[in-house]
């Protein structure tokens, strides 16, 4: 492994972390919802994909046709039915409620699927790689994930800055009370926002399930990685979130190259270092 290789692997891993983080970044940016169940929802999406692939025999990529709408509806219903009730009382109620949802998802999955590891199989693409040079090769799947993350963020930017819905999202993020006075039904808009966030949760869940094994309790570590990517990038900034993911991935890759035991720790240390230097992240956008 030469250093160029390490940096490329780390950077591509960052696309993966960014994908974990997009939904979290969105729900915090728009409705100041700190969603503790975010990691578990990613795992839940992977299990939904597992059910679909096992039930119908279709490819995990193709299962997105079902997983994405299922997660959208789940997000919409979750916000409309439960989370909207927590939003008027400050930061603590949504924290507690999503923490509870996290526990319910974990134990529900344990009950339904057992504590076994599962994986989504897509065949040859998992191990395929492109040889770019003598000692340089890039995995096709990590490349694909990175491309999906970039495309995902680009389409979210288009949504935010080019559409009526996006304008409403930004207005509500700025000043929810005034947006309501302008005729926006905040509660409905929040439900749509969590639905859109869950599209990315669905993507993250399926790609996560293809990349590595997952189990009912795999969620919390995804949550921490997603949080770190969001905070490094700065709250509310989608491209910042991508950069946050890349920094996390690079730090992990460099750490792992020095000593494999250091991989995870190196990521957290990079996170702490950036928090010390720039407490509000690299490109903070969200106003409080």
């Amino acid at each position: 492994m030469n250093w160029i290789n390490i940096l490329i692997q780390g950077g591509l891993l960052g696309g993966f972390y960014a994908l974990f983080a997009i939904g979290l970044s969105m729900s915090f940016g728009i409705m100041r919802l700190v969603n503790i169940a975010h990691g578990d929802l990613i795992v839940l999406a992977a299990y939904v994909a597992l059910l679909v692939t096992e039930g119908t025999g279709i490819d995990p990529f193709l299962s997105l046709v079902i997983v994405v709408p299922v997660m959208f509806v789940l997000g919409y219903a979750l916000q409309r039915g439960i989370l909207n009730m927590t939003l008027s009382g400050g930061l603590l109620p949504p924290l507690l409620v999503t923490f509870g949802i996290s526990i319910i998802i974990q134990n529900g999955l344990l009950q339904a699927f057992g504590a076994y590891d599962h994986r989504l199989q897509v065949g040859a693409i998992e191990t395929a790689s492109l040889h770019l040079g003598e000692n340089l090769s890039v995995g096709v799947f990590p490349l694909l994930v990175f491309a999906i993350a970039v495309l995902g963020i680009a389409s979210l930017q288009l949504l935010f800055y080019r559409t009526r819905l996006g304008r409403a999202f930004r207005a509500v993020s700025d000043d929810a009370d005034t947006a309501e006075l302008m005729g926006i039904d905040n509660r409905k808009l929040y439900a749509v926002a969590l639905g859109v966030a869950m599209i990315f949760v669905a993507l993250a869940g399926v790609l996560f399930g293809i990349r590595t094994i997952f189990a009912p309790l795999s969620g919390p570590i995804r949550l921490i990685l997603a949080f770190e990517a969001v905070i490094i990038g700065g709250l509310g900034s989608m491209w910042g979130t991508l950069l946050g993911g890349v920094i996390l991935g690079l730090a992990q890759a460099v750490g792992a190259a020095i000593d494999p035991n250091w991989q995870i720790l190196a990521g957290h240390l990079a996170f702490l270092a950036i928090l010390i230097v720039r407490p509000s992240g690299l490109f903070p956008r969200t106003r409080d």
């Binding site: 009526r164 304008r167 409403a168 930004r170 207005a171 993020s173 700025d174 000043d175 009370d177 005034t178 947006a179 309501e180 006075l181 302008m182 005729g183 926006i184 039904d185 905040n186 956008r285 106003r287």
Partner: protein, 232 residues
């Protein structure tokens, strides 16, 4: 024809009562001023009418329909728009995007982007800029334009003059004529008494959450107003 009527309107912030049995009537096409000192309940009154504060259904009646229980976004759709105190533009949106936000009430009518730019030509030049980069007066124009974009039957203006230079205030109040010319009914809340009285046909004076005085603005007794304003 009565457009807006409040019946014994009381409003609370938690346990604190801010309005005590306010009865206000506004006829279609009329411009009415609400004046009073700081803390008299003027803003609370507007917020109650606009649905930002919950009241009993019958306390606010708009065009014959009780609306006191409705939420703010439902009330805009019925045709009551608010220019909030301090303008409250959306800082991360451009001027034009702020104006377009007014269309979320989905009401048809005479006002659209073109008409608002005709009313405030300066905004057309500034339309791509972020709202916070504008001067106070330009921001106030944007806030008025944003409210107009919802094609209101009743326009609630909270402290249009707040923090603005007199010459700018005059410009903005001159535009009110164009707005009322479309048949829009206007309720003005002001601390600047003279400005409010010049622009309106009738006024209500609030004092500590209660109605202290109401009269036509022509030939009112200045001493009575002073007494009502300060509670002497």
């Amino acid at each position: 024809m009565t457009l807006l009527q409040t019946n014994n309107l009381s409003a609370f912030y938690g346990d604190f009562q801010a309005l005590f049995g306010i009865n206000v009537t506004v006829a279609q096409g009329e411009t009415v001023a609400i004046i009073g000192a700081n803390g008299a309940g003027k803003t609370t009154f507007l917020r109650s009418v606009a649905g930002a504060l919950d009241t009993a259904p019958e306390m606010v009646v708009f065009d014959g329909e009780p609306i006191g229980h409705k939420t703010a976004h439902e009330i805009v759709r019925l045709g009551i728009a608010m220019v909030p105190e301090g303008r409250r533009l959306f800082p991360s949106l451009s001027v034009e995007e702020n104006l377009l936000l007014g269309t979320h009430s989905e009401r048809a009518g005479p006002w659209n982007l073109k008409r608002v730019y005709e009313l405030f030509p300066r905004l057309h030049e500034l339309r791509q800029l972020p709202a916070p980069s504008l001067s106070g007066g330009q921001q106030q124009m944007t806030a008025v334009g944003r409210a107009l974009m919802s094609n209101p039957r009743l326009l609630l203006c909270d402290e249009l003059s707040l923090g603005l230079a007199p010459v700018v205030i005059r410009d903005i109040y001159e535009c009110l004529d164009a707005i009322t010319g479309e048949g829009t009914t206007v309720v003005l809340v002001e601390q600047d008494i003279n400005r409010a009285l010049d622009a309106s046909a009738r006024f209500y004076c609030f004092q500590e959450g209660r109605l202290a005085l109401s009269a036509p603005t022509k030939d009112f007794d200045r001493n009575a107003l002073t007494a009502a304003y300060f509670g002497l």
